[in-house]
Symmetry: C2
Subunit: 363 residues, 2 copies
DNA sequence: TTGAAAGCGCTAACAC
DNA sequence: GTGTTAGCGCTTTCAA
């Protein structure tokens, strides 16, 4: 259903306006015009004014960014590599918050964000060679992905986030293991014993050895739960684990349904994300299981939705926006002074009203 | 909580490896090396092999993208301008699907996506002048925003999407008015008379005249509802309209609560997005109002969540990914042949199980 | 204050 | 097949 009004225009453009055009017209040199934009103190205000006026008239927006970048050896953009389709990448809203942080930090250094989604099918890493960027942020890219190597080969600074952790490369993230342990410990302290786990994104179809060396955040969180529960004398094999393909409220609800249908209904459920946890709470409502009196639920991330949930969700807070800010900051620092380093941000359990002491258990 | 292991390195880099380096070392000319990368048929396979080998050894990843772009007069990236914070932009998942489409189309033309968020505070449009892009996609930017003018000034192709509609500039979108009219008509056909509306993003604090000329999609959808309902003899002033600040399930649930508490509970609710509609259905469950027998609910967009809802949601489908693909396609066409045009995509009502004939009304 | 000269790294003609 | 030439549009010494 295409509009009929397709038109052609500007096929043969007017001769392009450049610095030189302005300079010639005004009878000054190109560097003077350049200075008007880059070093205002290097010429008289009057001349500067004249230059801008003519530029305006001629429709000249200022120095061509590509040429400027070539000269300055600086791209003015940060490449952000995503493992999955963007659709999936933003499903959690956590990614969006992270990107928001990158944008905030980028703004301060006049850097844009070049998004490079790494579809699973796409072996071709040409997009990475072609990217006009000062460096890359690797966000939830599984180590071993061809893009990682391609980014490294560019010889620009690289910052890894979360899951992606590479020797000798800067990293930003939280201690997922300790963070999830806090969540599990909270339940143990409330005397819960029949605890279930709802998790997403284990990528169980990926090569096992790959994840053995560098586990995904989901696996780390599972480990954190496990460590605490086993210390409390709860056998890990007794802990039901439901895996969701999508990280959504609906998926969480479906997972909870499975848990509720089974025998020995859990008194508490650990979720590796907030959407999953909200889904679990919704399912509990469907089953008329009161939260938290009969069922405790814990999420992860502390997205805005967590505090607004009914009841407000106990969850692990991690500073998502700050994570983005730090990643961008680290990248910029690396381009400028070659600084390299790791930043581990603090994650803390936020206790709200979705958790309560274990009710008297009816065997 | 910064790691102690900050290190310095590469402060004074080795002399950079360029095409010339390879050429000199191999005793061939630079163009031959260039051809190895860009015109493989222009040199012997053996020589090409030798070039790549040396490049590998020297850690040369191929022609510098900035220099290449300068020479070719092509940036290899599409700028995507967002009105709001990214956080908000991705809240609906509809934006993410749109971006996905842009990415898919961009991939085919070796174009990346440069994201440029337009925070409300940010008067400074420098980011747009500095952007290394072949054109801009204006996504949900209110006309009148300083970024619009800045993008236009760059003299690169611009494509508007949805809300943003500018004279003489390409546009991609759907007929929001007709689409929402379909939804309302469906309810009228089912004999519903007590109909309510849940809407987001009216931006009521924006200057009224601004929106009078170019209404946001939300306003258009409202208009579509209104037209149909009034034709059916339902006074628009009798239609309760609840506005949500956020486009989320929780916000939709809260809105529904307000509608249920009031007198004369509606028998049907029109929502301008799927998350809002799911929230409404959830609230109905909380109030033990069976959907669809006692309450019909309609969403907008047909996100994946709509089909998976319980009951599956009747909603207006618009091809979000395709919208992104078309926008990118249009932009690329514009850069290449100066084509300009409008693409209006088809939106259709998808009837599922959240709507049913109006129950016998208890006055 | 302003200008002249020298590239940044690359590609596209064209000639050999 | 390969090399030579001539810039793309800009910034930056350095000299005037």
């Amino acid at each position: 259903m295409r509009d009929a009004g397709l038109t052609m225009e500007k096929a043969s453009g007017a001769p392009p306006v450049t610095l030189a055009t302005i300079a010639a017209r005004l009878g000054v040199s190109r560097s003077t015009v350049s200075n008007a934009y880059n070093h205002p103190d290097q010429l008289s205000p009057a001349l500067r004014e004249k230059i801008f006026d003519l530029a305006q008239t001629l429709g000249y927006t200022g120095p061509d960014p590509v040429a400027r970048r070539l000269r300055q050896r600086k791209a003015g953009a940060i490449g952000v590599l995503f493992a999955e389709s963007l659709q999936k990448a933003f499903a959690d809203a956590a990614s969006a918050l992270f990107l928001e942080g990158v944008a905030i930090a980028g703004e301060k250094t006049d850097s844009g964000m070049l998004l490079i989604p790494a579809r699973p099918t796409e072996e071709n890493a040409q997009a990475i060679n072609d990217a006009i960027v000062d460096g890359f942020i690797l966000y939830s890219i599984p180590p071993g992905h061809p893009f990682v190597e391609a980014a490294l080969r560019r010889h620009v600074p690289v910052v890894c986030v979360d899951q992606t952790k590479i020797g000798g490369v800067s990293w930003v993230g939280i201690d997922d293991l300790a963070a999830s342990a806090q969540a599990a410990q909270h339940l143990v302290d409330l005397n819960h014993r029949r605890i279930a786990v709802v998790v997403f994104g284990l990528n169980t179809n990926a090569p096992a050895d790959e994840y053995a060396s560098t586990p995904s955040v989901s696996r780390l969180r599972l480990q954190g739960y496990r460590r605490v529960l086993e210390t409390a004398g709860i056998s890990w094999s007794d802990v039901p684990i439901v895996e969701c393909v999508e990280n959504t409220e609906s998926a969480g609800a479906a997972a909870a349904h499975r848990l509720f249908e089974g025998s020995g209904r859990p008194t508490a459920i650990l979720c590796t994300s907030d959407p999953l946890a909200l889904g679990v709470m919704r399912a509990a409502r469907d089953y008329s299981i009161p939260v938290p009196s009969q069922l405790s639920v814990i999420g992860f991330n502390d997205l805005p939705m967590a505090a607004n949930a009914e009841p407000p969700l106990t969850t692990v807070r991690q500073p998502l926006v700050e994570k983005g800010i730090e990643a961008a900051r680290l990248l910029v620092a690396a381009t400028q002074v070659g600084e390299k380093g790791n930043v581990q941000l603090e994650a803390t359990l936020v206790v709200r009203e979705s958790t309560a002491p274990c009710p008297a258990v009816v065997a």
